[in-house]
Amino acid sequence: MRRAFLICIPYFWLIALFFIPFLIVVKIALSDSMLSIPPYAPKLDISAGWAGLKAFFAALDFENFTFLAEDDLYWKAYLSSVKIAAISTLLTLLVGFPIAYGMAQSAPEWRPTLMMLVILPFWTSFLIRVYAWIGILSNEGFLNQFLMWLGIISDPLIILNTNTAVYIGIVYTYLPFMILPIYASLEKLDSSLLEAGQDLGCSRVSAFWLITIPLSKAGIIAGCFLVFIPALGEFVIPSLLGGSKTLMIGKVLWEEFFSNRDWPVASAVAVILLLLLIIPIILFQRNEQKNREAEQ
C-alpha cells in the first residue's frame, strides 16, 4: 500500500506535467490556426459526448506538416540546425580532447582542482556565459581591439551575428560536457599499455592513435552526444550571438510561437524536432548501455 503510494506520486506528476502536455502538443500540431483565444481549433468539447469526440478527431489533420514540408524555410532550418550542431560538436571535441588529456596526464593531487575548474563554469549562468561573448566578439569588442593592437588586422572582423559566433558560443558553453566523459575514460586508461606499445616499437604518435583513442572511444562518443543533442534544439545562443541569417530550429519554433502566434505550426515544428532527436538519443542510450556492460 505504502509502496504503491510512493510510486504513484512521482509517476502521476510526470504523467500530468510531462506526458499529457506532450500529447497536447501533438494534438495542436494537427489542429488549425484560428484568430481566437487560444488561437487554434478544434477544441475538445466533452459535454457533446461521443458525437463531439468524433467531430473532434475528424477535424484533426496533417495540414501543418504538409505546410512545413512545402515551405523550404523549415527544411533549411532543420538542415542548418543539424549542420551547426554537428560542426560545433566536432569543434568542441577538438578543443575538449586536449584539455581532458592534459587533465588525465597531470599529477593525481592536481586532478580534483582541475576537475573543479571545469565544473565551475557549468554551474555559472548559461545566459551570462553567452552574454560575455557579445562584448568580446562585437565590432569594437575585445577580440578586435586586441587583434588590431597586435597589428594582425587593420579592419575589425565581423564575427558577432554570424554562424561563427554561434559555433564559438556552443563550444564555450558545452565544453564541460565534452571534457568530463572523455576525462573519465582517459583516467581509467592503464598507462602500462602505452609502455607496452612503445616497447613493441610503436612511436608515441602511433601509440596514441592505436591505443589511447580506441580505449577512450566510449568517452568521446558520450561527450559528442552530450553536446550534439542539446545544441540541436538550442535557442539562446543563436538568438544572442547569431544573426538574422542564422537558422536554427529552436529559434524558428520560438518565433512561430511568440512573434507569429501560430501555435499549430510551432507545435508541428516541436514534433518534428523531437523526431529528429530520437535517433541520436537512442544511439546515445545504446552507447551508455554498452559501457555499463563492458564495466561489469
Partner: protein, 270 residues
C-alpha cells in the same frame, strides 16, 4: 611521478584561459566607469548602485529566488521518491515507461518542454504566474535530482536498512534514520543542482511566465538583446560571485564530510 609535457601544459593553459577569460573580462568591466562597455575609463562601483536602485531588476530577482526555492524543494522530494522507486521499487506495472519519463526531460529541448507546459496550462485554464513557473521547474529538475540520488542509492549497502527493519524499525523510520542520512549528500547536491537550474532557466520560464511574474533571466535576456550594458555586467558579476562561493564552499564541506566518514569507518573496523 609523471612530468607534464609541454603539450599538456599548453593545452591546459589555453583551455582554462578560454573557459575563464570571458568571465574575467565581464567582472573587470563591471567596475568600469564609462557607459561604453568596451572602453576603460576608470574604476567605479556606480553600476552596482544603479542596479540596486533598478526596481524592475530587484522585483525579478525576488521572483526568481522564490521560484528557485520552491521548485528545487518540491523537485528534491519528488526526485528522491522517483529515485527510490527506480532503484528499490522492484517490478511494477509500467516501470519501463516510468524510467523513460524520468530520463526523457533530460534530453528534451527546452523549447519543447516550455511549449508543451504552456499549452497544458492554457488548456486547463491556469493563469500564468509564479505557480506555473514553479510547476514547470519542478518537473524538469526532479529528473536531474532523481539521477543524482539514484546513483547514490544504487551504491548503498542494503543490509544496513534490513538490519534496522530487523531491529524493529518501521519502514518509514528505517528510511528516516538509516537511508536518508546516508544519501543526504546526494539529496543536498540534487537540491543545489535543481536550485541553480531554476535560477538559470530562460526558455521554460519565458513560456510559462505571465505578465504578473518576470524572472531575472527573462529580464536579462530582453535587455541583452539591445546590447551590452554595464548594469548587466554588474549583475553578472554578482551572480558569478555567488555561484563561485557556493560551489567552493560546498565542495570543501563535502570533502570534509567524506574524510570524516572515512575516518569513522576506519575506526569502526578497528
Amino acid at each position: 611521478m609523471r612530468r607534464l609535457s609541454w603539450f599538456n601544459v599548453t593545452s591546459l593553459t589555453l583551455g582554462f584561459a578560454f573557459l575563464y577569460i570571458p568571465m574575467i573580462i565581464l567582472v573587470i568591466y563591471s567596475f568600469n566607469e564609462s557607459k561604453l562597455v568596451t572602453v576603460w575609463s576608470g574604476f567605479s562601483a556606480k553600476w552596482y548602485g544603479e542596479l540596486f536602485q533598478n526596481e524592475a531588476f530587484m522585483r525579478a530577482a525576488w521572483v526568481t529566488i522564490k521560484v528557485a526555492f520552491f521548485s528545487s524543494t518540491f523537485a528534491t522530494v519528488l526526485g528522491t521518491m522517483a529515485a527510490y522507486v527506480i532503484v528499490r521499487g522492484g517490478r511494477f506495472y509500467g516501470r519501463t515507461l516510468f524510467s523513460g519519463f524520468i530520463y526523457a526531460p533530460l534530453v528534451m529541448p527546452e523549447v519543447i518542454t516550455g511549449l508543451s507546459l504552456l499549452l497544458l496550462f492554457i488548456s486547463i485554464g491556469l493563469d500564468r504566474g509564479v505557480l506555473t513557473i514553479v510547476l514547470a521547474h519542478t518537473t524538469f529538475s526532479m529528473c536531474y535530482v532523481s539521477v543524482v540520488v539514484s546513483s547514490r542509492l544504487a551504491s548503498f549497502d542494503r543490509a544496513l536498512e534490513e538490519a534496522a527493519l530487523d531491529l524493529g524499525c518501521t519502514p518509514f523510520d528505517a528510511f528516516r534514520l538509516v537511508t536518508l542520512p546516508i544519501i543526504a549528500p546526494a539529496v543536498i547536491a540534487g537540491w543545489l543542482l535543481a536550485f541553480t537550474l531554476s535560477l538559470d532557466d530562460l526558455v521554460i520560464a519565458s513560456f510559462t511566465a505571465g505578465p504578473s511574474a518576470t524572472t531575472l533571466p527573462i529580464k536579462i535576456f530582453s535587455s541583452v538583446r539591445l546590447g551590452v550594458s554595464p548594469e548587466i555586467n554588474a549583475l553578472s558579476t554578482l551572480m558569478i560571485a555567488i555561484v563561485t562561493f557556493g560551489v567552493l564552499s560546498t565542495s570543501i564541506y563535502s570533502k570534509r564530510a567524506i574524510a570524516r566518514q572515512q575516518k569513522e569507518e576506519q575506526e569502526a573496523e578497528q
